[in-house]
């Protein structure tokens, strides 16, 4: 319908005139016509230059012994010393392990949970009920990590927390000093991450499932396929492109951690660093708390470089596998 309307609209415009003009412009660019476009592009390009390209040159910082008065270019070279110091410290291993391990768990289990929920949401026949569910599960997505840290604090606080007071005491169990005990934190962080992000990713998968033609299911039902068979033979295979795209995106970001989750939820508690500190939290603490440009820039440049390699690699793999699934 829409296409034919658009085509009809193009007809009244004098076609030959346009073509002639296009041909004329091919031969000689009329700069005057494009100047307004360049002016319109300028603010955005200036912003990208300041916010994205200037920091790219800032990676030099990692190879310098920064003297703020002399600036980046004036400071003495440090060679690879910053990286050497970083990787000689025991923190380097901890923060990389934490970042990667959490991400792997979040990617795999996060995907399983949100795809399952998306499939179940698709089974709900009433549109009204379905949209109510969608609204409710998106609420965590709307909150900042600071606010979520208040929610988790209300549950976990040592003296006033709900879990210690209303649950553990009521069951006659010992209360737990949550913000000091490392062993619980992998689970707490996992739960917080799932709580905040599942609604979001569920909606993405759901929108992709809704796009699957109903005819497949009707045909399958006629042939006597059970719901479970329909999910396995129709929904999941047709969801694969979305799954691959989402996986590429997250694997490309496996060296990046959600600063809010790992900084706000454990309330930057030093006792928990062993299991909560990721590269981003380390960079913040090293830079802002200790003013250590050398170590923090080494960690942050390492993160950026590995991230770049990962994005390009995962995309190349996806491209080889199927061109449609690649992002660029």
């Amino acid at each position: 319908m829409e296409e034919t309307e658009q085509e009809r609209e193009t007809v009244p415009v004098p076609e030959s005139g346009i073509n002639l003009e296009v041909i004329m412009k091919r031969t000689k660019i009329k700069w005057g016509e494009f100047i307004p476009l360049y002016i319109m592009a300028l603010p955005g390009l200036i912003y990208l230059f300041c916010n994205n390209y200037m920091p790219m040159f800032g990676v030099l910082l990692a190879f310098k012994k920064l003297d703020v008065r002399k600036g980046i270019l004036g400071s003495d070279w440090a060679g690879l010393n910053n990286f050497k110091f970083l990787f000689q410290s025991s923190t380097a291993f901890t923060i990389i392990r934490n970042t990667v391990l959490y991400n792997v768990v979040f990617i795999v289990l996060g995907m399983v949970i949100s795809v399952t929920f998306a499939i179940l949401l698709n089974e709900i026949r009433s549109r009204l009920v379905s949209s109510v569910y969608q609204s409710l599960v998106l609420i965590p997505f709307l909150m900042s990590w600071v606010v979520v840290s208040y929610l988790s604090y209300a549950l976990l606080a040592n003296d006033t927390g709900l879990i210690n007071n209303s649950i553990l005491k009521a069951l006659g169990m010992e209360t737990v000093n949550w913000y000091m005990e490392k062993k619980y934190w992998p689970f707490i962080l996992f739960f917080c991450n799932i709580w905040k992000s599942t609604g979001y990713s569920m909606i993405i998968y759901y929108s992709s499932i809704v796009g699957i033609s109903k005819e497949y299911y009707e045909a399958a039902a006629v042939d006597g396929a059970t719901k479970w068979q329909q999910i396995r033979k129709i929904t999941l295979p047709l969801l694969k492109p979305t799954l691959i795209t989402m996986t590429i995106l997250s694997v490309g970001r496996i060296f990046a951690s959600d600063f809010g989750l790992f900084y706000q939820i454990p309330r930057n508690s030093g006792a928990l660093y062993g299991v909560t500190q990721t590269i981003d939290v380390y960079v913040y603490n090293a830079l802002m708390k200790n003013g250590d440009f050398g170590m923090s820039s080494a960690a942050s440049v390492f993160q950026a470089a590995v991230g770049f390699v990962l994005v390009v690699t995962t995309n190349a793999i996806a491209r080889r596998y199927s061109k449609d699934n690649a992002i660029f």
Binding site: E9, V13, V22, P36, L37, M40, G44, Y47, L48, N51, Y53, M54, M56, G58, I72, F117, L120, L121, E123, I124, Y133, Q134, S135, L136, V137, L138, L142, M143, S144, V146, V147, V148, S149, Y150, L151, A154, T160, N164, N165, S166, I204, S207, K227, T242, T245, M246, Q264, R267, N268, S269, D280, V283, Y284, L287, S297, V301, Q303, A304, V311, F328
Partner: protein, 295 residues
């Protein structure tokens, strides 16, 4: 029990559980803010407090100088940030969507490349604070990272390419309509859905942001620009300081609001989003799905 009934019960059951889990912590936050402070200290936060109280909100009313100010900053930053963001992203997208623009391919690549590689947080911090000197100014809240992403430019560009017929632009040009006029009077009014979606997502990011303030506003000189989120973060940091140092020497204990007041400030911080959300839910859902669907 037949098959479809089983699936209906299963799916509704799981979804109800999930919805309740999503909502409950927020409900606890609200109830905690209405709990009597002494009762909360003795019995902890609870869904069923023994004693209710409005004291936390009375305190907020008396302290409106600080909190109201933070509110005003949050609102201004959100509005200014998303407005500028929409303007510069859509204009850049408009230029890039013109396939005849000389150098357009290079500009397009420069734009996409920012999504693949960045200099990292430290380099970004160095540039903004030591070259542009935005520390402890209002610019600190608006400029770094949030103002424009190549991703939004691509969303606008795709929308323009798919939904604005080239013939319409040609016709406008032939009638002597200037490029700027055409963009603001014809193209943008035709692109309201994408503008609303991008604007809403950017607005949400600005409202919820606390990292820019964390990096670029110091407690001593930048606190006048604190947003609600930064106020909440500052309360967290002060408490953490006391816990780790075991004393209240350096941080005045009176600066730390009591248990229930903290929760009330958090409620105040999410309230605008929760009030607006039901009306704009459609655009939020759109904003989430639009990124996943490649066009």
């Amino acid at each position: 029990m037949n098959n479809s009934k089983f699936w209906s019960i299963l799916s509704n059951g799981v979804m109800i559980l999930f919805s309740v889990l999503s909502l409950l912590p927020f409900v606890l936050l609200v109830i905690a803010s209405f709990t009597d402070n002494q009762w909360a200290l003795a019995n902890g936060y609870s869904f069923f407090p023994g004693k209710w109280s409005m004291d936390a909100y009375r305190y907020i009313a008396t302290e409106w100088d600080t909190i109201g100010r933070a509110y005003l900053v949050s609102i201004s930053v959100t509005l200014a940030g998303s407005f500028i963001s929409i303007c510069i992203s859509s204009m850049l997208a408009h230029a890039l969507s013109n396939s005849r623009l000389p150098g357009g391919r290079i500009l397009n690549f420069l734009c996409v490349f920012t999504m693949l590689f960045g200099g990292g947080q430290v380099a970004s911090y160095y540039v903004w604070s030591n070259i542009f000197h935005i520390r402890d100014t209002a610019f600190a809240l608006v400029l770094p990272n949030l103002l424009m992403s190549a991703f939004n430019v691509i969303l606008f560009k795709n929308y323009f390419t798919v939904n604005i017929p080239a013939s319409l632009k040609e016709a406008a040009r032939m009638d002597g309509c200037g490029e700027f006029r055409m963009f603001w009077r014809i193209i943008m009014p035709m692109s309201l859905p994408i503008t609303a979606t991008v604007g809403l997502m950017t607005g949400l990011a600005y409202w919820n942001d606390w990292t820019n303030g964390l990096y670029y506003l110091s407690q001593r000189n930048g606190s006048k620009y604190y947003t609600v989120q930064l106020l909440l973060n500052q309360i967290n940091e002060n408490i953490a300081w006391i816990v780790s140092n075991g004393s209240t020497v350096t941080v005045n204990a009176s600066e730390i609001p009591s248990t229930t007041i903290r929760m009330a400030i958090a409620v105040v911080g999410v309230l605008p989003v929760m009030v607006i959300y039901p009306f704009l839910q459609k655009y939020f859902v759109k904003g989430i799905t639009i990124g996943a669907v490649k066009e």
